[in-house]
Amino acid sequence: MSHRLDRGGRLIDRTKRLDFTFNGKRMQGYAGDTLAAALLASDQMLVGRSFKYHRPRGIVASGAEEPNALVGLGEEPRFEPNQRTTTTELFAGAKMVSQNHWPSLEHDIGAVNNAFARFLTAGFYYKMFIHPRPFWKHVYEPFIRRTAGLGRAPEAETVDADRYEQIHAFADVLVIGGGIAGIAAARAAAEAGRRVILCEQAAHWGGRAPVDGVVIEGQAAADWVEAQIEALRGMANVTLLPRTMGAGVHDHGYVLAYQRVADHEPGADKPRHRLWRIRAGRTITATGAIERPLSFAGNDIPGVMLASAMRDYAVNWAVVPGKRVVVVTNNDDAYRTAIALHEAGVAVRAVIDARPAARGALPEAVRARGIRVATGTAIRRVEGGKRVTAVELCAQESDGAEASERIECDAVAMSGGWSPVVHLWSHCGGRLLWDEAQASFRPDPDRPPLGHDGAGFVIAAGSANGAMLADTVLADGHEAGQKAAGAKKKSRAPKAEAEEEEPLAPVWMMPARAGYKLRMKMWLDPQNDVKVSDIQLAAREGYESVEHAKRYTTLGMATDQGKMSNINGLAILADALGRPIPQVGTTTFRPPWTPISMGAIAGEARGPLFQPLRRTPLHDWHEANGADWEPVGQWRRPYCYRRAGESRHDAVMREVKQTRESLGLLDASTLGKIVVRGPDAGRFMDMLYTNMMSTLKPGKCRYGLMCNENGFLFDDGVVARLSDDAFLCHTTSGGADRVHAWMEDWLQCEWWDWKVHVVNLTEQFAQIAVVGPNARKVLERLGTDIDLSREALPFMDWREGRLAGMPARVFRISFSGELSYEIAVPAGHGLALWDRLIEAGAEFGAMPYGTEALHIMRAEKGFIMIGDETDGTVIPQDLGLDWAVSKKKADFLGKRGMEREAMVAPERWSLVGLETVDGSVLPHAALAPLEGENANGQRKTQGRVTSTYHSPTLGRGIALGLVHRGRERMGEVIEFRGDGGRMIAAKIVETCFHDKAGEKQHV
């Protein structure tokens, strides 16, 4: 059984006991424990079930590579699945639930899959679920959906109770990894005067060195680490970030680091996670190495652990996974585990070494302790169900048909050598080379990821760079720090004493020629249940690319991304393909290194801070007066103003009616207002707009269209000529910034010698539309020096003067068909003018109206709305706006595009009015289908609705739509498809439904 030792544990505080539960069972750990250490201390080795066969799964590792010990942690609204117990610190009241089992962890029905394992081989899903086709929807898909996925997602409607934040930071040298290599690198760079950030994913500094008993500069590693950290903390140019994982290295030295600020103290008044967005001149990846498992039959049974992990648990947390342990290895490092366990009082039954001989200092030290070392030997098979009970041995160079010996034990420590963590090096294109001696990939220093200046910006250091002994690790870290800092003066690297190690022997399978029965019990990826036999099958079936083999077998997928399993997997694949390992290569390393929370990605960008909100000068008035808001770009505009007890529809009808009958007021401040000024302004305007603008006289307005070079209409609005050299362009509310950018683009990149400049004044002015038969009267009551009479200020003219004591421009333009003035005043006067209009308009029942009333009134007049009648494929001619497209101008943006065959074809759809025969309102975007199918096998259509409303003015449904050759088909009745397939007959009519002669706006 796994248990806590009576003494030791360098990271735990035995005076602080912490209660927690696992599947409802009460347990206790110490402050400083990880969840995994606390579980092991409570003899909870079984922590979950595997994905496919639901086999019992125990804790294997002690770090980020852990594939099994993932739990659901916490309760709604803080519940999270797949929390890695090996890297999560224990806190009081932690609630864990295990995953992938039903009804319970101990008795799982899905484990029946295990009995059928030989039918569930690689590619099972692809092979099984393809026939018969009709089974997919009703049988297979629901089944897969029920069984797929690791853990359960939080409740859909739950809102995360925690807060998260992001921070930008800059460093000359960013060091990722706070082991001895990272510390040496940070120290060297800091002493060269650089701004340094040193981050470490764990809560403790020093990495493996303190566990391995390394002596540095005559001090125990832990003491040396503490002194170094203390020194770095005292330097003003150094930032230390524990509990901060380097998540991803991105283009040009942009690095995301993920800080777990408060995971270990829930309820603290702190953000839970903080995402660091770091720009670093040079990044040093001192990310260490991960131990590889060995592939022998039954290597997935709980109790089989990585040798280094077993050592970590013993030294750091005083926890051992068993009372009788067998160590199995192909290298010297695992002997350290044998020593550590022996010194902790655990019976080490034997060290099984696959190498023909083991004569290094470490094996000799083990033998000196009276522990048996069996060389040239393999584990043939592990016995046990939910827990290891024994191992059978055989010769490594054999097929393992028979066992040579059986040793009873309750845990197995395995080591297949170490793989440098090259992930961060590789994120941005750093290349790898194959190190024969270590049998691992490591960074190729000649092919690093490149920065904007073409120089490498990542330097790998320490074990992450393939340096495996403490002394070389320190030297490598120190050198990396100096190099990253561009240090001129070379300083001495710290020195370490450590045992020499003999070379490892690459062992990808145990025994070397194991038969099929053994191979199908050799787990490569215990999380996804991928075995040696699966990879071999994939290779036989033609999955030769490592990327294909990964996806076919699911090797290294899901939450751990094969940190522990990938190298073994591709060695098996290479062997099966008869190719050298470097030729098979690795799968792609993608950020993040380990999963980061969605909350950290969102940061503060949630709720009101999700995106900036633009408010007009009248925003607060609207808010206080019943505005029903509608988003328009980043603006909020009132859709309508609801009165107590009134529906939206009724409010809109009231607003339209009152405006048409007497007086309405609209906040039009969101309209784009762009000034184009300069000697070449007219020439520029003629290029921008489809119609002639240079001939417009000061004091006059003209409606204009803007097209892109394809000839497609993208914005419209009224242009006012301010003076000989200046125009004011009104744009759509959502389009102002786009139009301004469009103008700048052409001015800067095509016609840069034209003497014109453009300024976006949208927010400088408040603009109020005063609309209705009483519009003129109310303006006159406000007092003005502008003659507002029909003769002095006719339709489509504008004047500047004073209105209600304010400087104002009065544009006599109309988007409703009514007598209408749009008044622009400096933004700061907006609210005062609005108040005066409401006050003076009271006798006419002045009524503010919203965007929906605006839409209905413009549709009644057949005026188009960008985004309704246009969709990026519509040219002005489609909308009957030929009159606004100049035939005289030699050139304008879009002219060449409109000349194309398809644009002048009579087959185009054109804008028409639609009146339902029964007076009802057509559904939004309804289609008018035709019999038959088009070339793509889709139902043919002959038209679609672009705008549809109930018109209070006409008392019926009206719509605008694009219909095939529509303008030639006046009076024809066609059918549109409504909800549930109901067909609705509508008559094709003129686009203008109301006041066709336009008399009302000319009064």
């Binding site: 991105h250 720009r279 073409g454 840069w752």
Partner: protein, 107 residues
């Protein structure tokens, strides 16, 4: 995330501070131009593996357009220069040649 230096205001800034405007040095074809030329202008874009010229606007900065010459494989930025030119300036071409002797050249 790319790091670009605006040649107008001299600021080195994050990619998110800029807006990409696609391939640079396109020649505009207007009314009366042959279909093939217009098609090339509108739609046919280079997609080089290697040296590439692209338009960027310092959208959240000085607002000016410039052109970046960069490598689409290594992401190295050879130069940035104001957009008021019809082809890459001589010194930019030289700088690229120095680093990419095999470059087939612009156009």
């Amino acid at each position: 995330m790319l790091l670009l230096t605006c040649p107008h205001c001299g600021t080195a800034a994050e990619e998110t501070e800029f807006a990409n405007g696609g391939e640079a040095h396109l020649k505009r074809f207007g009314p009366g131009s042959p279909d093939a030329d217009f098609e090339a202008y509108m739609f046919n874009r280079k997609n080089p593996r290697g040296v590439h010229f692209e338009r960027w606007r310092h959208a959240y900065g000085c607002g000016k357009w410039f052109i970046a010459a960069r490598c689409t494989v290594t992401l190295e930025v050879f130069a940035t220069y104001p957009a008021q030119v019809t082809e890459p300036p001589e010194d930019v071409v030289k700088a690229i040649r120095a680093k990419r002797p095999d470059w087939e050249g612009w156009a």
